[in-house]
Every structure is written in structure tokens, then in C-alpha cells.
Symmetry: C2
Subunit: 131 residues, 2 copies
Amino acid sequence: MKLTEPEWLIMNLLWEKHPANARGIFERLPRRVSWAYTTVKTTLDRLVEKQAVQKKKDGNIGYYEPVLTRKQARSTAIKMLLNHAFDGAFGPMMHFLAEDENLSANQRKELIQILSEKNKSKGEKNGRTNK
Amino acid sequence: MKLTEPEWLIMNLLWEKHPANARGIFERLPRRVSWAYTTVKTTLDRLVEKQAVQKKKDGNIGYYEPVLTRKQARSTAIKMLLNHAFDGAFGPMMHFLAEDENLSANQRKELIQILSEKNKSKGEKNGRTNK
DNA sequence: TGACAACTGCTACATATGTAGTAGAATTCT
DNA sequence: AGAATTCTACTACATATGTAGCAGTTGTCA
């Protein structure tokens, strides 16, 4: 499920705290975002349409609940980036990222940690060369 | 500079081999993409408009040359992903990627390699904890 | 119990995207 | 040279996105 910019904004707020109503989300908009209340509504409606969010009613007030998980959304976003910007090749993308100058030495160490552990625990059960 | 899907497609072909004319690009479209010749043209025109590509004339035939580099494009794409999907935090994104179940043991090893070398070579000159 | 405020469903509208068609100029083939 | 082909510039048009307004309904508080 592909999300647009405003949709990510709303979803991020929803994932942080939910269920939530339009007003609540509206109030938690980052300072830099100065939308009309109705813009939040429209975005929420569209998210419901594409079933990323579920809407429930309590009285006549609608409450929203994420259906799409943050993990799923992130995964999809990365896959898309991977596909168009790196021809689907994971290796080169990681390369690119690993070489990013914004990655500090400490972050690299941390990453190495994660990766090594991952390899120890999941072991050899995963041998494919996902291209 | 944000690129759309068709734009990535064209840019990828252009980066691979350039200068190139519309016809040449048209012919190198991946098999799965069955566009009309004019669709390629329109996309190229739009890329010229947004100055990602430069157009030159040789007689009345136009040749296209990328202006935006692949690296710049990738960087921008990653920054955008980073910003909306990971709240701008590099660490968590790398975390997410490192934990991707589609990452094979070998890819992990490869990554560890890259990261270790990077740390050795660039050494401690980079100590910030970005974010 | 009326005046207001807040909600809700719908509509609006400009720009962006995805995809292609057309007409006329230039080139090429026979 | 006339026909067929290829280019180019321009236009078209449906759907998506970004952003918001409006009218009617409901809740709330003096």
C-alpha cells in the first residue's frame, strides 16, 4: 500500500496514538504543518477508502484506527525505493546507505552488532540470495 | 528532485547509456513496459522541464543527457523515505533494513564487511550521533 | 431553550501523474 | 520526386494528490 505525503503524516500520528478522532489528530499536527481541520478529515477519509485505516463510530463521532501497520508501510516504501532507484537490488542499496556520510562510526558499530546477532540466531536456515 | 515512476525508468536508461535519443530509449524499455513512443517523449519532456535532463539538438533530432546524477536522485529518494517513514532518523531505518527477513545471511556478511571497512578507513573522524 | 461550537458527509479545484493521440516538418527509400 | 517513415511540438484526458470550503446535524453551555 503506497502512501502519499499527507497520508504518512496522518498515519504517523495514528500509529503513535490510537484510536483517535479527527480533532485529536488535527491538534497533534507538527507545528510546521498548518492545515485546515478539513484537510485532516479528507486525508483520513482517503485512508479509509484505501483501507489503511478503519473508521468506527461512537455516537456520531468517528474514531480512526490504523489497519495498515507501520511495519508494512515501511516495508512497502522500501521495496518501492529499492525497485525504482536500485533496480531491486538490495546489496547496492545497503552499500549506498552504508556509505552515507551521515552514518556515524558508532552507528556502524551498532549495525554490525545487529547484523552479527541476526546471523547467529537465524543461522543458516536462510540461504537464498534474494535478488 | 523528486522523480515519478516513469521518470525513474527513463532516467535509469539514460544513466546507463547517454546521450540518447527518444527512439533509442524507447527501444531499451524493459520488456514489461509497453509504452507508446510518445509516452517516452512526454516523460523526457517533463524531465527536461524539471531540469533533470538536458536536451540538445543535432540537426532536428533531439539528444538527451542526464543532468541530475544517479547518486543525487538516490540520495533524494532516500532522504524522502527517511523523512516520512522514519521520522528522519537514519539509525532506525538501518535497523529496519538490517532486520529485514529478506536479507540473506550472505548479504548480512557482506554488509558487515562494508561497515567494518568503512569504520577502519574513515576512522574516528566522524563522531556525531546524527539525529 | 436558544446560540454557538464542533462534527460529519460531500463537494471543489488546482496541480501532478500516467499514458497517449495528432498534425505537420524532416528524412529516407525506391 | 512521391510515398512511407520518423521526429518534433503540442494537446488530451482520466485519475491521483494537496488543500480546503460548505451545509446540515448534533452536542453543550449560559
